[in-house]
């Protein structure tokens, strides 16, 4: 079998003694939709934060296409090809919808950012910055060509949410409704052309019809072959869209497998129905 897209081995993170993520191992294959579910506080979002480098880990390895990415540098992880959204929807409030999406393209640009490879060398980081500044002020043929590409990517991503964002293209993000902010956020993440799209509760705070819309969009992305790592509470959506489901509880993976397998797993039922009742039943069964 070829190397999976994302491979997480023995990942751990604690917060002052609380083991939020306690040595978990899982993988996501190319084109696969993997969901993480579990009760509140089970470590789902922490796992996402670790994978995307938003917070540093305390042990374990993360590799993307065989390359280690657990260096804790969020921007570099994005450059490797992981884009994410946040639980509460973080957009650049003062930027327009189009500009929000344009920022998402940042890590794919070359002509606009000459010598960008040097960004990883501490002492030479200023060279690509000065070059980028120079290109921004005077422009080069390459950068003008790339500007046209930027335009087209922005247009594509806005078109994906045409009914909702089409007319809001130039409006500042703070003027958007909550649901539209989350759409803008997804569009921005997709503009990065990610190998892996990481979504943290994309339907949180949404009503039924909005949730259905998100589901339709996720299925569309899945059909396009987009690999997705999803954290989500709405089980119907998870069961419909996922290839595989990982169930977490207390920072550990307690079950994983296809939606059907997970649905009937006794450990999962226990975690979801509540530990105390589960424990009492366990005691009587013993």
């Amino acid at each position: 079998m070829s190397t999976p897209l994302l491979e997480v081995v023995d990942l751990a993170r604690h917060f002052e003694g609380l083991k939020a993520v306690d040595g978990i191992t899982f993988s996501v294959a190319a084109g696969e939709v993997v969901s993480i579910i579990g009760p509140n506080g089970s470590g789902k979002t922490t796992t996402l934060n670790l994978v995307t480098g938003t917070i540093p880990g305390h042990g374990g390895t993360i590799t993307l296409e065989g390359e280690r990415i657990d260096h804790g540098d969020t921007a570099r992880i994005a450059e490797h090809g992981i884009a994410r959204t946040f639980q509460n929807g973080r957009v650049f409030a003062t930027l327009s919808v189009a500009d929000n999406i344009e920022v998402g393209i940042h890590s794919t640009l070359d002509a606009t950012r000459p010598f960008r490879r040097l960004s990883n060398l501490f002492a030479l980081r200023w060279i690509p910055l000065i070059a980028e500044l120079f290109v921004a002020i005077v422009g080069t043929p390459g950068s003008r060509r790339e500007s046209a590409e930027i335009e087209s990517v922005v247009a594509t991503e806005i078109h994906r949410f045409e009914a909702r964002l089409g007319s809001r293209r130039d409006d500042p993000a703070y003027s958007l409704s909550y649901a539209n902010r989350r759409r803008t956020e997804i569009a921005r993440a997709l503009a990065l052309r990610p190998k892996l799209l990481v979504l943290d509760e994309p339907t949180a705070g949404m009503n039924q019809s909005e949730t259905a819309e998100v589901l339709a969009q996720l299925l569309e992305l899945k059909a396009e072959g987009q690999a997705i790592l999803l954290v989500e509470h709405k089980l119907d959506l998870v069961m419909t869209v996922s290839d595989r489901i990982i169930v977490m509880d207390g920072g550990r993976i307690i079950a994983s497998g296809t939606p059907e397998a997970v649905r009937t797993d006794p450990a999962v039922i226990e975690a979801y129905l509540g530990r105390r009742r589960g424990a009492e039943e366990g005691a009587t069964h013993d």
């Binding site: 917070i55 921007a75 884009a83 957009v91 409030a93 003062t94 640009l109 910055l129 003027s175």
Partner: protein, 600 residues
């Protein structure tokens, strides 16, 4: 050696008092209170007034100073800080910065800037232990501090109000839910902090033997560094930080002389921010839990400036004023243009990258000195010297600032303030005298020494600056820098190297500050370190905030109002600062997006 240690303890004593006040207010309000800085100067001056001028006994004067400072603190909190609670803490911090400038200069207007001899209230060297000398005065100061600190600790630990203060510091929301009168608690904290500031001020005067209205800022900066060293919000940490810094400083001065003081403080600050941003006893905040960066405005739509307005401005500024203006108008106009260059260049840092740098006088000074030195000593022509000054300011400031970009929120503003102060301190150390005879520009053999020629040169400089700034703003780079100011975490997740772009924005602003400094030097033909003051930094910030932090053209309007109008009204320098301060407070409060932005 022991003398130095004693000196350190006494200095540390003062810093500890100040730091406790700063930490206390930061704890319960999440605001760095610059106004606190002024109480050091004010406390000293009031004590001087009561004791030296009015001849009152010290034991009456001291409590009176504390009451006055406490009362003023309450007033400031009610009038300035509390109303901004719904904005980001940055807005309140900026306003307290303005308040501190107003207080310092009002006190300077009242007491004049002279250093006043402070009477010896108690003997200062009546004891000997070996070679070590100290006086009753020193023992009393240390004693009072010990008593005050002890009382504070007991009050916070056992008192009902003390508990309320601690609860508020931990979680304001929750405290409010539990029925704690949070605003009353904040008032109390402010009063205590201000009174402590006054006490520290009196002690400085006692210790140094002179009082001066503007001494507050230096002591305040040091006290703030002490509070940071100990961990902002931690009172025990503040005391430790105060004494550690006092002793470090005393030894620094012992070995390197008095001018090393600011430099030592600055390096300690930067070291702490890099190595242990939470200080000795504070907790290092998690990346995403401190949303202090970003612009406090955000909401609101800028007015689009119609084309005819641009043309009208160009005609008035580029043709009417040079043709019909008298020398006075042209000289004033040149000042307006130069500050507009500096401020327009600053918009990318303050507005887009969301870094409210408070020390722009630093790069301006570098630009001015570079230009003066290379034109005089190397004979480099004006036209080459100006861009070189910009580059020199950008490079030197960037190198100094390179360690601070991982730092957040308040800390970054304070760090930039420290950098600005340190740059000027270094210049004062190396070149204490002014530089005379900085050449006016010439073209071929023609000396362009007339006000109209210099006005036109600066007009072109401003047009170029605005063009560059607008190009940057519209480019992909501009959007990326704006994303950094808007949401750092989301920017990182989008592959934006946040630190790098903050540094770049800062370098761009320093470049134009350097250009502005060079233009100023060639206009004045004389420079010395006293030109590049906190006033200058405050002025740049005020211009930019007034015009709308993210908008380069707004900087021109801000400059016309704050430089042009002040000059034409012929306000004295002290009164000007008071006006700048008031303008800043009013704009932050009522037009947070600047005069060009409609409130959302």
């Amino acid at each position: 050696m022991f003398d130095t240690l004693i000196a350190g303890l006494l200095r540390g004593n003062v810093y500890a008092l100040g730091a406790v006040g700063i930490s206390l207010v930061f704890g319960v309000m999440n605001v760095v209170n610059f106004a606190q800085f002024s109480f050091f100067g004010l406390g000293a001056m009031l004590a001087w007034l009561f004791v030296a001028e009015l001849g009152w006994p010290f034991w009456l004067a001291l409590p009176l100073v504390l009451v006055i400072c406490g009362g003023l603190g309450l007033l400031i909190n009610i009038a300035v800080v509390r109303p901004l609670a719904k904005f980001l803490p940055l807005a309140a911090m900026l306003s307290t910065y303005a308040v501190s400038q107003i207080l310092d200069n009002a006190s300077q207007i009242a007491f004049t800037a002279e250093f006043r001899a402070f009477p010896k209230v108690l003997p200062t060297s009546n004891f000997h232990i070996g070679t070590m000398r100290f006086g009753t005065s020193d023992l009393v100061m240390l004693g009072i501090t010990a008593v005050v600190m002890g009382a504070m600790a007991a009050f916070l630990k056992y008192g009902k109000t003390g508990q309320a203060i601690r609860a508020t510091a931990q979680d304001q929301e929750a405290a409010l839910q539990m029925g704690i009168p949070v605003s009353l608690v904040q008032h109390i904290a402010f009063v205590i902090a201000s009174a402590l500031g006054g006490l520290a001020g009196v002690f400085i005067a006692l210790y140094v033997g002179v009082a001066n209205p503007t001494s507050g800022l230096n002591v305040g900066m040091t006290a703030f560094v002490a509070a940071t060293l100990g961990g902002l919000g931690s009172l025990g940490g503040a005391v430790i930080g105060g004494f550690v810094l006092g002793i470090l400083e005393a030894f620094g001065i012992h070995f390197f002389g008095d001018s090393a003081r600011e430099i030592i403080v600055f390096f300690v600050l930067i070291l702490v921010l890099i190595l242990r941003p939470g200080g000795f006893l504070g907790k290092v905040p998690l990346l995403s839990t401190e949303p202090l960066t970003g612009t406090f405005l955000g909401k609101g739509r800028p007015f689009t400036i119609p084309r005819w307005a641009w043309i009208a401005a160009a005609v008035v500024g580029g043709i009417l004023i040079p043709v019909f203006g008298d020398n006075y108008l042209l000289t004033t106009g040149t000042q307006v243009l130069i500050y507009a260059v500096i401020a327009a260049g600053f918009t990318v840092t303050a507005g887009q990258a969301g870094v409210l740098a408070l020390g722009q006088a630093g790069p301006i000074a570098i630009g001015a000195y570079t230009s003066a030195l290379i034109t005089i000593n190397l004979g480099i022509p004006f036209w080459v010297a100006v861009p070189l000054s910009g580059i020199s300011a950008a490079v030197l400031t960037s190198v100094l600032a390179s360690p601070i970009w991982g730092v957040k929120g308040h800390y970054i503003s304070i760090a930039t303030l420290g950098i600005g102060t340190a740059i000027v301190a270094i210049i004062r150390l190396v070149l204490p005298q002014g530089i005379y005879g900085i050449p006016m520009p010439s073209w071929g053999d023609t000396l362009l020494a007339t006000p109209v020629a210099y006005y036109l040169i600066d007009f072109v400089a401003l047009v170029v600056t605005l063009w560059v700034m607008l190009r940057i703003r519209r480019s992909h780079l501009g959007k990326v820098i704006s994303s950094v100011g808007s949401d750092e975490v989301a920017a990182l997740a989008s592959g934006v190297r946040v630190r790098d772009y903050k540094a770049l924005a800062f370098a761009i602003s320093a470049f134009f500050a350097g250009i502005g400094g060079s233009l100023l030097a060639h206009q004045y033909t004389y420079i010395d370190p006293t030109i590049f003051t906190m006033l200058m930094s405050l002025l740049v910030v005020t211009i930019v905030i007034m015009g709308g932090v993210g908008l380069p053209p707004g900087a021109v309007i801000g400059s016309v109002i704050l430089i042009g109008a002040m000059e034409l009204l012929r306000f004295t320098p002290e009164l000007r600062i008071v006006v700048y301060g008031l303008v800043l407070i009013l704009v932050v409060r009522f037009r947070p997006g600047g005069v060009l932005v409609r409130n959302a």
